[in-house]
């Protein structure tokens, strides 16, 4: 049995989302946290393409995917700039150093 394009994409979507969520839970570097968020968002974008393919509205799906790419790039930029500031003021990029507010 050969896998169809749709089921391959479906597996890719699930895989990307799973990798992103897992990475978000285990990584300790702030830059890597942003990368994990990016992987998650890429899974969602591929999901939109898959949805467009299933219901035959691939054009609409592509324009939605482009919008998601823009928004998620902005989020990445802000995340990275916050990481830069944190490195600047606290001297580390380790998540476990962010315990100032825990009580």
């Amino acid at each position: 049995m050969t896998l169809s394009l749709v089921s391959l994409t479906f597996i890719a979507v699930i895989g990307l989302l799973a990798i992103g969520l897992y990475a978000l839970l285990v990584v300790h570097n702030l830059i890597k946290v942003v990368v994990a968020l990016q992987i998650l968002a890429k899974g969602a974008i591929l999901g939109f393409i898959l949805a467009g393919r299933i219901n035959g509205q691939i054009g609409l799906a592509e324009s939605l995917a482009l919008t998601v790419i823009i928004v998620d790039t902005i989020v990445a930029v802000i995340g990275l700039s916050l990481a830069v500031q944190i490195r600047h003021h606290m001297g580390t990029l380790d998540v476990s150093a962010l315990t100032r507010l825990r009580r």
Partner: protein
């Protein structure tokens, strides 16, 4: 002005003003120094908000006669109904007061024009969120609101604590928004459309399991923003570290906007309304308990207020759970009334705490944290500010005859109307929680009036006059609404009616 273009004006005005404020603020900051630039950008921002209230006023005439305004351009649909008007009124009112408050609060900060531009963009995002009638537009406005609020939370970019709060908030919120996207593409794949009204028409019971998965993703995604337990952990950090005006906006309206977005998406899946209702009742009870218990052990004023917001989301969720599960219209009416009251009361509490933070710390150039001990005996030096803070706290605790009591009462009455044992037990639970919450509001009031003035209070600066104006306006609103709760029926009843229509299909 045509009715349909009015929706566009309502949303575009804050963004256009944000651009102008930033441009003029930058030019003035270069030429005449930061002080003047900060003041001018504040008043420009206030003007912009007043201008965008005008189209809302025009549109409101139409919505009040039980019609809706629809604007359709390609796949983008804007739709103005009772819920949008409710959200727009709350955000414009609170936003205007916050801008007036911030004119002095932020006057010595570097780059305050960015603050006003971002604040205006956030208000625009919330207005858009209330008006969007297709899932993807809803998500885009939701993200506009989220992205601007990340930057506002981390506005003091030299303070490690606010950077930490901003990053935590960004990670949780961005992960949540991916869950929203997952929900949207599942619904899109199933229905082939993103138009909420058509989706509501397509989705008749029984719902297929894959759409329940989508609903769960929506609940997680918007639940992060609405601070549903256990997705609330960003809230106390972000709300306590943001500038006080932003804390008021975040607690007063951003988490409520998350709740409204959640209502929009769950109401189009009204075919499974019993499931959503059960989830909301459960989460609401959790929110009340955890928010109140955690608030009891706080030592910082703004953190205490932030945890109490989690508790208050619980009351709203309870009222909404009643309409989803049992179809009692009063539940939604009470929840929307409480939404309005909570925005005003928590806004007032954060602004009054902000005034005290300003006079005790910030006026001396110190970005310290306001602890409960700092407020000992504050009434001796700051009688008016402490009085307004006490009104806000007692209103939040639900003491009659303040507004907070009236909305909680309406929610509890709706709970009894269900004639369901579990719901009635939950009402008792919620009432007990309300008493529990007085366990941290009342000692704070007592501390401010009865104890000897602390060192910080004795060395405090004088209260600037412009800061007092928003406090007095909000206090009057809370007291008047407590005596005449029916004054707000024009706002809450259409919203509840629309929600009911969507749930029933």
């Amino acid at each position: 002005m045509e009715a349909t273009t009015g929706v566009i004006w309502l949303i575009v005005t804050p963004f256009a003003t944000a651009f102008i404020v930033y441009l003029i603020g930058r030019i003035l900051a270069r030429r005449s120094g930061a002080k003047l630039a900060n003041r001018i950008s504040a008043w420009l921002a206030a003007l912009g908000l007043l201008i965008s209230a005008y189209p809302l006023y025009l549109e409101d005439q139409i919505v009040l006669s039980n019609k809706v305004v629809l604007f359709k351009q390609g796949g983008i649909i804007f739709y103005l109904d009772g819920i949008s008007v409710l959200l727009a009124v709350v955000v414009l009112l609170l936003g205007l007061l916050v801008v007036i408050f911030s004119a002095r609060y932020m006057s010595s900060e570097v780059g305050a024009e960015k603050y006003y531009a971002l604040l205006l963009a956030m208000i625009g995002g919330i207005l858009g969120l209330g008006c969007s009638a297709d899932l993807f537009t809803l998500w885009v406005w939701f993200e506009v609101m989220a992205i601007t609020s990340y930057m506002l939370v981390a506005f003091y970019r030299n303070q490690p604590a606010s950077l930490e709060a901003g990053f935590k908030y960004l990670v949780q919120s961005a992960a949540g928004s991916v869950f929203v996207l997952i929900g949207i593409f599942i619904v899109f794949a199933w229905n082939g459309t993103l138009d909420m009204m058509r989706i509501r028409y397509f989705l008749q019971p029984p719902l297929p399991p894959i759409l329940l998965v989508a609903g769960g993703c929506f609940l997680i995604g918007f639940g992060v923003k609405a601070a549903l337990v256990p997705l609330h952990t960003w809230l106390p950090d972000a709300h306590s570290q943001a500038p006080s005006g932003i804390s008021a906006m975040l607690s007063g309206i951003v988490i409520e906007a998350g709740l409204i977005a959640l209502l929009r998406v769950t109401s189009i899946m009204g075919a499974a309304s019993e499931l959503w209702g059960n989830l909301m009742l459960g989460v609401g009870a959790l929110n009340m308990l955890l928010g109140n218990l955690m608030a009891l052990r706080q030592t910082q004023v703004k953190r205490l207020l932030a945890y109490s917001s989690i508790g208050h989301m619980g009351y709203m969720m309870f009222g909404l759970g009643v309409i989803y599960r049992f179809g009692i219209l009063n539940g939604a009416g009470g929840a929307f009334f409480h939404l309005f009251n909570h925005a005003m009361m928590k806004g007032l509490a954060f602004l009054a705490a902000g005034v005290l933070l300003y006079v005790l710390y910030i006026a001396k150039g110190d970005h310290g944290t306001l602890t409960l001990d700092d407020l000992n005996g504050a009434s001796k030096r700051y009688p008016l500010t402490v009085f307004t803070l006490s009104v806000a706290l007692l209103g939040l605790g639900g003491l009659p005859p303040l507004a907070g009591f009236m909305s909680k009462w309406q929610i509890f009455v709706a709970g009894f109307q269900t004639q369901d044992t579990v719901a009635m037990l939950l009402v008792v639970f919620a009432a007990l929680n309300s008493v529990l919450s007085l366990g941290y509001y009342a000692p704070l009031v007592n501390r401010m009036y009865r104890l000897q003035p602390s060192v910080a209070v004795e060395n405090g600066a004088a209260v600037p006059k412009t800061m007092v104006v928003p406090l007095v306006v909000l206090t009057l609103l809370i007291v008047v609404l407590g005596f005449y709760p029916s004054l707000l029926n024009w706002l809450t009843e259409p919203a509840a009616g629309i929600l009911f229509l969507f749930i029933r299909g």
